[in-house]
């Protein structure tokens, strides 16, 4: 029988990291080794994660495709499925369908400087491509990461932030919103756009990858433009509610563009051509 496209892989939770009080990262291991063998994905793609009995929820694969033994996902407790996911323990089963969607064009970026800008829970969809390019470090020139969250407690991947900031080949800027700092906070204090403006990375031969809440995007875009970035050199991801993941259920389209098929990765140039339906 041909494949049931709605049938998820069964995954075992290998480990759980509590990133913040309401954000968790799961490491998921294929229960069936054959599935693991067959499975491959690229940076930027997403999947449908399910708790049987509660339903499915969409988020990006947060681990790098260069690490083949597992996939990781990071989610915030928000609705029915993510609440159910958060109640699971190591060893429990979840479902995973994917990978779906397009990818960050990292091959095209080879030989360029990369500027990653993320806010809050938007680092996970970017983490995949960050690790992907770090693992292929020799192909890229300078890598700069600007990451901000409301408070120190809201920063995700604290271990990795530390690791990245300690690497000599990555310029890491972490910031928290004013008032969100703790006494021993050593990073920047200020909103992402301001911090970015202060750091003023060169737009010369540089690709900017931007993910964050709409308000952050809104204020960061002018800064990027001021720094000289062109629309086609800025990438971001869109999120819309979706059910199927392959362009049938009719939810995620922005105009005629399916976020699940043509996205989630879009250049800012593409975004400008889309109607405002996201």
């Amino acid at each position: 029988m041909a494949e049931n496209i709605y049938k998820p892989y069964l995954m075992k939770i290998g480990s759980i990291v509590e990133e913040t009080p309401d954000v968790r990262t799961f490491r998921l291991i294929f229960k069936n080794p054959e599935d693991a063998e067959k499975f491959s994905f690229k940076a930027g793609q997403f999947g449908e994660y399910s708790v049987f009995g509660e339903g499915e929820s969409t988020f990006c694969i947060a681990s790098s495709p260069t690490r083949k033994e597992y996939i990781e996902c990071t989610f915030r407790k928000a609705g029915r499925v993510t609440n159910a996911l958060a109640n699971l323990e190591v060893g429990d089963t979840v479902g995973f369908r994917g990978p779906y969607g397009n990818t960050f064009p990292i091959e095209q970026w080879e030989g360029k400087n990369l500027l990653y800008i993320a806010g809050g829970i938007a680092l996970p969809p970017m983490r995949c491509v960050i690790w992907n390019t770090i693992d292929l470090r020799h192909k890229y020139k300078d890598i700069t990461i600007v990451y901000g969250a409301r408070t120190v407690g809201d920063l995700v991947y604290k271990q990795e932030l530390k690791e990245w900031s300690e690497r000599p080949d990555i310029k890491m800027i972490t910031t928290v919103d004013p008032g969100g700092q703790t006494p021993d906070w050593k990073g920047e204090t200020g909103f992402v756009p301001m911090v970015l403006e202060k750091a003023a990375p060169s737009s010369e031969n540089c690709i900017a990858i931007l993910c964050g809440p709409p308000v952050m995007i809104k204020f960061t875009m002018p800064v990027l433009k001021k720094l000289g970035f062109q629309d086609k050199d800025i990438y971001t991801t869109l999120e819309n509610r979706m059910k199927c993941g392959f362009g049938k259920c009719g939810r995620c389209n922005v105009g005629k563009v399916f976020v699940c098929k043509d996205g989630p990765v879009f250049s800012y140039e593409q975004i400008l051509s889309l109607p405002e339906e996201y």
């Binding site: 029988m1 041909a2 494949e3 049931n4 496209i5 709605y6 049938k7 998820p8 069964l10 399910s50 049987f52 009995g53 509660e54 339903g55 499915e56 928000a78 609705g79 993510t82 323990e89 060893g91 429990d92 089963t93 479902g95 709409p214 999120e239 819309n240 509610r241 059910k243 199927c244 392959f246 362009g247 049938k248 259920c249 009719g250 939810r251 995620c252 389209n253 922005v254 105009g255 005629k256 399916f258 098929k261 109607p275 339906e277 996201y278």
Partner: protein, 336 residues
């Protein structure tokens, strides 16, 4: 295959129907208690109507049931197992006496369910379906098939198309191998066609769908949408009666340890259809949802699925509680 035309007499139709209904599921229209047409499985031939204009619901449920199980699961504390649906159990169905608009809709649905990735549930059901269509000898003011590239005698989607002759007998156009199989199983019932005067209704063309598609390309921000959707109350009636609407929801339902994941009809007209968990809703007012409905059918689908998302059956308009008349709106859109 090349189309073959034959004659089938009225009394032979009954024999054909009874023979088919004897050992398979035949889905045929009858007149219900409320005087409206509805499709039923294997009704008696005497109850089958040949004169209905449109049934309240379309016949898309044969290939896209209002609830379709995707798989079953069983949960223990830490384990879950999945059991597949046995798609081989999908029964063979003969759709009897459905009109050209409804039959053409199967093609449209295929363009949604089988673009890019193939939906096995849909396509297996479609494989098991044989369509004996019936050309329309009556129509009403809601019909607009001629405006969307079809006609009361279109054969698209039919395996056999029956058309009433002025003599009261029927012409049978045998269009596909599936149709031919039926005809060759009952050779005595089909005769050579002599008289070709058919009784076909006329449906006036109301707009040009090509022009509508062209206009829509630049009409996303047009004030038309707000002005013409104020009276829409945001129910899902139009989508649910539509033969080509295919938006769906996926849900889980568990009793004890066992449960199933299923998909069920959904409608882009519902306010919460696109609502994010964060509370953000990309289509937060009805005008945006109405625009999505029209745009999807007449702009996005021609662009992405190479098919028009409308067959002109008029159900959405006749079923609408507030007379959101789609043909009227498209006519207006053509001229904006």
């Amino acid at each position: 295959m090349e189309t073959i035309r034959k004659l089938i007499r009225k009394q032979s139709l009954e024999k054909l129907y009874n023979n088919l209904a004897a050992n398979r599921k035949v889905y045929a229209p009858v007149i219900a208690a409320d005087k409206k047409a509805e499709y039923k499985y294997n009704p008696g031939f005497a109850d089958v109507t040949f004169d209905h204009i449109r049934s309240t619901l379309s016949v898309k449920n044969i290939v896209f049931p209002k609830v379709e199980n995707l798989f079953f699961y069983e949960n223990s504390k830490t384990e879950s197992t999945i059991t597949d649906i046995d798609l081989d159990k999908i029964p063979e169905v003969v759709l009897w006496g459905a009109h050209p608009c409804d039959n053409a809709a199967f093609d449209t649905l295929r363009s949604i369910f089988c673009w890019d990735t193939k939906d096995e549930f849909f396509s297996r059901r479609l494989e098991k379906l044989t369509v004996i269509g019936l050309g329309c000898h009556s129509s009403d003011e809601y019909c607009f098939c001629t405006s969307v590239g079809l006609s009361p005698s279109s054969s698209r989607g039919s395996d056999i198309l029956l058309t009433k002759l002025q003599t009261g007998d029927y012409q049978a156009e045998i269009l596909t191998a599936k149709g031919n199989e039926i005809v060759s199983s009952f050779p005595d019932l089909f005769e050579p066609l002599t008289d070709e005067k058919v009784d076909i209704t006329e449906v006036k063309q109301k707009f040009s769908h090509k022009q509508v598609t062209e206009k829509l390309a630049g009409a996303f921000e047009h004030e038309f949408w707000i002005a013409n959707s104020l009276r829409c109350i945001g129910c899902g009636a139009c989508a649910y009666v539509c033969p080509t609407c295919a938006c769906f929801d996926i849900q889980d339902e568990t009793k004890g340890k066992n449960g199933k994941r299923y998909r069920s009809w959904d409608s882009c007209g519902f306010g919460l259809f696109t609502l994010h968990t964060s509370g953000h809703n990309p289509r937060h007012v009805q005008s945006q949802r109405w625009r999505q409905r029209i745009m999807h059918k007449f702009s996005y689908m021609p662009d992405r699925n190479e098919s028009l998302g409308c067959v002109g059956c008029g159900r959405c308009s006749s079923g609408c509680p507030v007379d959101m008349n789609i043909a009227e709106q498209l006519e207006a859109l053509q001229n904006i």
